[in-house]
């Protein structure tokens, strides 16, 4: 398995673990709106991560064979974030805004922590 695929697998596993933690938090605590926001933001964050992985995967084939490729890329990622923020802003009784923003940056935390672990292993 390529290094990129391995990395992506680790990130998705960490994200799913976080989803489980958020789900438990939603179930156990009274802060339902915060955990709703966290889960909503994390879904968009996971989509962004997958979209970036797709781009990096396509790049290899293009370099080897030549030619070009098209991805919706950054536009799709920005639209997904816009939709999530709009949902959160228009339904404050269900989704906490700060929770949603923290959910959106979950994948960056995951990448940072994973990088630290990889560096420590080396």
């Amino acid at each position: 398995m390529s290094e990129l695929k391995n990395m992506f697998r680790r990130y998705v596993f960490s994200m799913l673990t976080l989803f489980a933690i958020f789900g438990i938090g939603w179930w156990v605590s009274d802060y339902k709106t915060i955990f709703n926001g966290l889960i909503l933001g994390s879904i968009a964050s996971l989509f962004n991560l997958w979209s970036m992985f797709r781009f990096a995967k396509k790049l290899k084939g293009t370099v080897e064979t030549g030619g070009g490729f098209f991805t919706s890329g950054m536009l799709a990622r920005i639209i997904s974030v816009s939709v999530v923020i709009l949902i959160s802003l228009l339904n404050p009784e269900y989704f906490h805004l700060i929770g949603t923003i923290f959910g959106l940056i979950t994948s960056y935390f995951v990448i940072m922590i994973d990088s630290i672990f990889v560096l420590l292993k080396k």
């Binding site: 990129l4 962004n48 992985f53 790049l59 370099v63 802003l89 959106l104 990448i111």
Partner: protein, 71 residues
């Protein structure tokens, strides 16, 4: 009106910065992959992390823009 201008500046400038940054990252990666095809796996991994962090800026720009419009 001023909040719309603030939103436009937040999204526009952050998107321009990210576009330039992403362009640099991908162009250098492709260049390195062409030079050393055996290192392409590692290079793509590094590029992936770089792109992820560069794109955090326009994403936060979009968030700030929506906050400027709606709040």
């Amino acid at each position: 009106m001023t909040n719309l201008i603030a939103a436009a500046i937040a999204v526009g400038l952050s998107a321009i910065g990210a576009a330039i940054g992403n362009g640099w990252i991908v162009s250098k990666t492709v260049e390195s992959m062409a030079r050393q095809p055996e290192a392409s796996g590692m290079l793509r991994g590094t590029m992936f992390i770089g792109i992820a962090f560069v794109e955090a800026i326009p994403i936060m720009g979009v968030v700030i823009a929506f906050l400027a419009i709606f709040l």
